[in-house]
Symmetry: C2
Subunit: 206 residues, 2 copies
C-alpha cells in the first residue's frame, strides 16, 4: 500500500497513529505529498482528484480517501482490538466523535487560512464565527471528557486527540486547556501513547 | 427522531433521499435550521456545536452528524436493500465515492462563498484552484460512469447524484454535462427517481 502523506496534516496523523497502533505500519510505503487549498498538486491528483491527503493506494490500484474511510479500511486488516466498533451504540458514539473532531479540524484549517491572508482580505465575521463554533465544540468535549476516558481507545479518541494536538500546534494562542481541564487531563494521557509521540508534527521535515 | 434540515443543503438531501428510499421518512420530525459559515446558529449548536446540518437527534437524546454517519445509522433501521455494503470491495468503492462527492461539495460550498465576496476580498488563486480540482474530479467520475450505472444504487450513488444536482443548482455556468456525457447519462436516470424528484431544492421555501 502507498500512503500520500505529510508530517503536519492532522488528518494524516489519524492514519499514522492507526498504522502504529495496529502493527500495520511496515506494510505502507509513504509518499510525501503537499496538499494546499490554493495549489492543486497534479501528482497527488492522479490518485485523489480532490488533491487532499491522506490518500491510500491499495495494491490492486484502488485509491481510498478520506481519513475516516482509510482508517476503517485499515481497521479490517489486523487481528487486534478494533478501532471501529461494530453496529450499536458504541459505533455511533465513536463515529459522531470522529465527525466532531474532523469537523473542528475543517473549521480550524479554514480559520488558519483566513489568519494568513492579507488584512484587507480577511473577513472579521468569519474569524468570529470560527471562534464561536470551536468554543462550543470544546465545551461539548469538556462535558464528554469523563466518558472519553471511560470508553477505551477507538477512532473517536484518535480523532479528538489529533484535533487537540493540532490546536497546540497551530493555535497555541487559544490556550484551550485553560477552560477545559477535564479534556486537558484526558489529552495528557493521549499525548503519552507511543503512537502519538512518534507522530508529533515536525517543522524540520520537508 | 428529529432532523435539523434545510431544503437547499446538498448534504441534507443525501439524508432526505435515504429516508424516502428506505421508507423511514415518516419516523423523522423535521426542524428547519439555517447553517451558514459566518453565522453560528445557537439553536442548532445546542444539538451540533459545529453549527452544521444535517444533524439527527435520536429518541434517547444522542445527536448524530455528519451526513455519512447519519446515513449509515439510518441504513441499519430498515429491512430493505442496504445502502452501505458490508465490508469488502463494494463497501470501499461506495465509501470512496461518497468521500469524493462530499469532498467536491465541500470545495463547491467554499467556491460559492468566494464568488459571493466583494471583488476586493476574492482570491483569484483560490477560484482557479477550485475549478482545477472540480474539473479533475468530474473527469474521474466520467471514467467511472459505466461502473456507477452497473453497481446498483448505494450511498456512493446518492452522494454523487446529490453533488451533480448541486452543480445544476448553484453552478449552472459550469455546464458540467458538456464534457461528461456518460456521467450526464447516469445522472438523467438518478434525477428521475421519486426520492430525487421529491427533494429538489426549493428556493420558494423559507
Amino acid at each position: 500500500m502507498k500512503l500520500h502523506w505529510s508530517p503536519r496534516s492532522p488528518f494524516v496523523r489519524k492514519v499514522a497513529i492507526l498504522l502504529l497502533e495496529t502493527g500495520l505500519d511496515a506494510q505502507v510505503e509513504r509518499v510525501r505529498s503537499v496538499a494546499a487549498i490554493a495549489v492543486p498538486n497534479p501528482a497527488l491528483m492522479r490518485d485523489n482528484p480532490l488533491s487532499q491527503i491522506p490518500a491510500l493506494v491499495l495494491d490492486d490500484g484502488q485509491v481510498l480517501y478520506d481519513s475516516p474511510v482509510i482508517c476503517e479500511y485499515l481497521d479490517g486488516l489486523h487481528g487486534g482490538a478494533g478501532f471501529f466498533p461494530p453496529a450499536g451504540a458504541a459505533r455511533w458514539t465513536a463515529l459522531r466523535r470522529q465527525a466532531l473532531a474532523d469537523g473542528m479540524l475543517a473549521i480550524l484549517l479554514l480559520w488558519r487560512q483566513e489568519r494568513m491572508k492579507d488584512a484587507g482580505r480577511r473577513l472579521p465575521e468569519w474569524l468570529a464565527a470560527f471562534a464561536t463554533k470551536i468554543d462550543a465544540c470544546l465545551a461539548r468535549l469538556e462535558d464528554e471528557a469523563a466518558a472519553l476516558a471511560r470508553d477505551g481507545f477507538d477512532i473517536g479518541h484518535v480523532s479528538v486527540g489529533c484535533m487537540l494536538s493540532y490546536l497546540d500546534y497551530r493555535f497555541p494562542d487559544l490556550d484551550w486547556r485553560a477552560a477545559h481541564p477535564a479534556l486537558a487531563g484526558w489529552h495528557a494521557g493521549f499525548a503519552q501513547r507511543p503512537s502519538v509521540l512518534a507522530t508529533v508534527p515536525d517543522d524540520a521535515q520537508a
